[in-house]
Symmetry: C2
DNA sequence: TCAATAATAGAACGACCGTGCTATTGATTC
DNA sequence: GAATCAATAGCACGGTCGTTCTATTATTGA
């Protein structure tokens, strides 16, 4: 009812959100280069110029889509992990959420993984944005490793950055097996690898230096 | 001298090889979708139709490029690893070569990694070819793990496929750190992760089940 | 050397790309 | 309800895409 006066969502933002919703879905399976104005216009049922006006350029459209991807990852994977105390418990929760967030968002693949391999050798704003977000996640992991060391859960010999490096490797291998092999064992492989990572960090003789 | 009569290399194969050389280089940094007829024609200094005639379709061009990539990997990484005896030694050599082969071939990134993320959700001959080659490599790794188990180097509790899964993860993380972060520690991270993988497989209490 | 044939070039096609312009429709405010 | 401004459509542009057809040049084999 009190939707008049001081209404911010000026209708355009709704359609913009609808566009980005389709763009995110598209980027997951087809990549960010396939986010063409024409195809998105067809999928949303609007005109090319009408859609284009919301972003001003294809690059802005890609950046906006990446922002939305990050927003959903934050909402679906990162924020829920904060429910667990910092350290191994939060690492475990973050890991599980990291593997499941695409499915929870109704995506068939991980847009961040697509973005990484599409832009890692292509200098520009997209590359910078992708690298920045991945670094943020790595730092979040490393921070929890540090917390685990301080609380005595992990050995002091563990290198937080090494841990983050290996954790990303497990996730990457998991997404590969899932989309390339459709291997039913994939989930268990990832779980086992993560368990081994944790176990090695716990024992003082860990070679995760 | 006896280059007349029965000469097989009918000149066209030389230009085809020259095209594929540029195509491989292009696929490494720009991806396989960027293998456009026009850009390759410009880079090789020939006409679009002249280049096109060598392949008949873009998809055939992509498949031929992938074949050439695999050929170089085999030559630069796989075959040399056979110099070491099957088991941990060959695994170690294969791992090192796997990380270095792109540099040895003068490539700035790994075309196989590009191909994987470009086609893993795109049904068709390219996807099938990529999946087939990755499976081949996984099986090669798993085979050496089995050899290591039989020779007593590895614990019998080790699962060869789990080992291959984790090894791929390390390589993937390494290529990411290299191209996205330009992290100088990347090589050491990969080496440490591999060492941990080997160590866990050696001890009978390995959780790499 | 000469015919046969392989290799390449040229021009053109319909389709789609990103982007700018100008209308026109729709919503918000008074 | 009229004025205002945001939101969208229509149309056109130059460019590149993959592909086809027809010519022209190189290379080959006798």
């Amino acid at each position: 009812m009190p939707s008049h006066h001081k209404r911010i969502a000026r209708k355009g933002e709704e359609t913009r959100a609808a566009i980005l919703d389709i763009a995110v879905r598209q980027s997951a399976t087809q990549g960010f280069d396939a986010l063409t104005i024409g195809s998105l216009a067809a999928l949303t049922g609007m005109s090319k110029s009408g859609l284009f006006a919301h972003f001003g350029s294809k690059e802005e459209l890609q950046l906006a889509t990446l922002d939305e991807v990050v927003r959903r990852f934050t909402e679906t994977a990162y924020l829920p992990s904060l429910a667990a105390p910092a350290g191994t418990q939060r690492l475990n929760l973050l890991f599980v959420n990291w593997l499941l967030w695409t499915e929870r968002c109704g995506l068939k693949a991980c847009p961040m993984m697509s973005a990484m391999s599409e832009f890692d050798d292509q200098p520009g704003p997209m590359r910078d944005a992708v690298a920045h977000q991945m670094r943020r996640l790595d730092r979040e992991v490393a921070g929890n490793v540090r917390a685990a060391i301080e609380s005595g859960e992990f050995s002091g010999a563990v290198t937080p950055e090494q841990f983050a490096f290996e954790l990303f490797g497990i996730v990457a291998a998991c997404y590969r097996n899932h989309s390339l092999y459709q291997d039913a064992e994939t989930g268990n492989r990832a779980k086992a690898a993560f368990q081994r990572l944790i176990d090695c960090a716990r024992s003082p003789s860990a070679s995760t230096t």
